[in-house]
Symmetry: C2
Subunit: 442 residues, 2 copies
């Protein structure tokens, strides 16, 4: 029989072992932060009508997995969780507002696979719609900060910008780009690449946009890169925006958000700083935008980002539904932690049940279930083999104890426990006495 | 601007509210049953090379979502978690055997949508490879039984068959169908439809298979439907198989498994009974097979099924890797529970933080985070509005308490708590005193 090659698609990965444990831990912290703040769990389909997904993602549209299904429908795999969420909100007119939801789910993008970038990756999103307030922005950012803090694997910097401030600055320094309909978004896409390609190339690329001047681009970049302490020089930016009410109000909102985060009296391993050059690639953002990098691995890029999108549902319905959302890129974060080598090695834990002969399965499982019900990991030997081989397997599996079931244990309804670190053995214990050893805290 | 219709694809669903809560609860019980027995979490991609997935599923092949990606690769969405698992095992030659994994994940099948049948649905799989033993079969079945029991939403019957016993019976009653290469599997596919189309139609369809006789089909059906108590009449079946060693051994294995389950001394709301007419549609099963129905809704069909597949990895590699697995159809189970009306209504819980005026956000969030850190659901009002409106929202959200933050509470760093059931109010409590009310058990 001709064999089929057992292989995965490029950009796709299997997860198990310590990587999977860390993924599960992050998901657990996301669920915790969400439920303590009243975010409701939501799940939407992986597949949507292509027209529902396309047209909002700017650069992302090209990366969508899309095809015609057997029924002749143009379908696509979601490339984020935000656009399907907007579809959900538009489809369900009776949601109690403000509506807070979180979603953990895989998304797909046919981008070039590289370190920390996959074609299938998991995102953890927090979103609030129906409230265009500072509190809503803060609630989303706080939830993300708590998740990252509780992982206890490193410190982060979250940089905060605002689309309207950046738009205001473009009006000041590159006013003529607004004469063409896509001029502003073309500038944003170029500015968004600053960290990747550096200021000189950004100036070059901006100068090529219709209506832009090299001088204006240089002045803009100089201002965007000016620092006051760790963040953007907000006083200098404010001075440039003096005649622009919208941009000045946006800057005020951003400053209030910084104040609110700085005032909260809790240990956070995420520092929020203003950085007005943050643009974000996705076209749907309209207000604050943010990105987050690991302090010890900034080159890895953003592991969590988001922003305010006040018009997203308007593609579907006329109702005005302001929204704000943030996403933790679970697989990028895991890849970054792996790069840093902060994944924990598994410690000895649980019990491996060794069977001295066949026919003892019934008592072995009976005993195992007693301990499992108490939350003790209890693995039963599944293949008849010599005792020494079973002990070796118990050791290899990193179990803390071997529990031997022989004829005597079977007839006396007891177990024999061997501590695999110390070698100490306790013969023919009742299940209750064995539990005292396995879980002294009970 | 032309609006895009906010709609989902047929056969796809959004999940939130009580449905999502139940889904999360089932997943949590799957994780618990898995981790206490040492099943390792695994995640494989949703997308695979089409050739990896096709050719094993029999009837299922036609339902695979498949297309050519931008790189010209023939790709497909997984239709189950078992075949990708076989690919994973074949690709990773160094796994410690026996290898026990569980996986929770969505799968996709382009089948006709109907009640309880979706085109995207979540499966929870337990599999053990590298051990062709009774214990391995039992461990998988026990894990599923524990999950279903702990949900505490109904009783179940798990019917147990064996491919080799059914094969043996076919050799006795319809010996000539084995003259054509697909004769046996054609018979299995027909017998598998017994519950749906009834015995007469099965006899008719079997008679049409090359080599089959109407008389043989009738005798076979009569034997398969004969009952001894609740299960198949194993004595009568054994008598028919007397000269067939393989089938007799298979029947012995099935009886031992029944004995092992019946001997386990723990409360289980799943009853295991022999039913040798169980065939299962998927082509890869080779040993025991099982299906599970809700006792109060048998017409809904199987909510959990599985079996032994000793040759699955042989499509990829020559190594012999016996396996056994079982799957809980999470979305079918949820749909069945919904049909039965056993989903719980949400009870009053948590706190809604009412803000008397603007500018109090900082203390409001500070207080909220104090309670959240203790596991109290604490939702902060996100939109400035009149007090009465905020109280009404708190009530609508089914919160147990409203926590009022006004100027006085802000300046004295206190909170005012109002019990939304009794109307009782406790003014200006310290955070610690408020916590005593919210979590008396602390």
């Amino acid at each position: 029989m001709k064999k089929i090659e057992a292989r995965k698609l490029k950009g796709f990965a299997d997860y198990s072992g310590t990587t999977m444990s860390l993924r599960s831990q992050i998901m657990e912290e996301v669920r915790r932060a969400a439920s303590e703040a009243g975010f409701i769990a939501l799940q939407t389909p992986a597949l949507e009508y292509a027209e529902v997904l396309l047209g909002e993602g700017g650069e992302t549209d090209k990366q969508v997995f899309m095809w015609e299904d057997n029924g002749g429908r143009s379908v696509a795999l979601r490339y984020d969780l935000t656009v399907p969420f907007a579809r959900f909100v538009a489809e369900n007119g009776n949601l109690q507002m403000p509506y807070k939801r979180y979603q953990i789910g895989d998304v797909w993008r046919a981008e070039k696979p590289q370190k920390g970038r996959f074609r299938e990756f998991c995102q953890c999103d927090f979103d609030i719609i129906g409230a265009d307030t500072l509190s809503a922005d803060f609630e989303v950012i706080l939830a993300i900060m708590k998740v990252l803090t509780r992982l206890n694997k490193g410190t982060f910097t979250m940089t905060l910008g605002h689309r309207d401030v950046l738009g205001g600055l473009l009006k000041v320094f590159l006013p003529d780009v607004f004469q063409s309909p896509n001029g502003e978004s073309a500038c944003l896409i170029v500015i968004d690449k600053l960290d990747k390609i550096g200021p000189e190339k950004v100036v070059n690329e901006l100068s090529l946009i219709s209506g832009a001047t090299r001088e204006g681009a240089q002045d803009l970049l100089a201002l965007l890169q000016k620092r006051d302490g760790e963040g953007s020089d907000l006083a200098a930016i404010k001075a440039s925006l003096v005649s622009d009410e919208v941009a000045t109000a946006a800057l005020g909102r951003l400053e209030s958000l910084l104040d609110l985060v700085n005032a909260i009296d809790m240990p956070l391993s995420v520092k929020l700083v203003a950085d007005l050059k943050i643009a974000r690639g996705l076209a749907y953002y309209t207000g604050v935008v943010f990105e987050t990098t690991l302090d010890s691995l900034p080159s890895f890029g953003s592991v969590s980002s988001g922003g305010r999108y006040d018009q997203l549902t308007q593609r579907f319905v006329d109702r005005e539904l302001p929204g704000v959302g943030g996403s933790i890129g679970l697989d990028r974060l895991v890849a970054a932690f792996e790069e840093l080598g902060v994944l924990e090695n598994t410690k000895r834990a649980g019990v491996f049940v060794v069977l001295a002969s066949q026919g003892l399965e019934s008592w072995a499982f009976q005993a195992a279930e007693f301990f499992r019900a108490q939350g003790v990991l209890c693995e039963v030997s599944l293949k008849p083999s010599k005792l020494a081989k079973q002990f070796a397997l118990a050791d290899k599996m990193n179990r803390a104890y071997a529990m031997v079931i022989g004829e005597e244990e079977n007839s006396s309804q007891t177990v024999t426990l061997k501590d695999l670190s110390s070698g100490e053995q306790h013969s023919k214990l009742s299940l209750k006495d064995a539990l005292k050893l396995l879980k002294p805290e009970l």
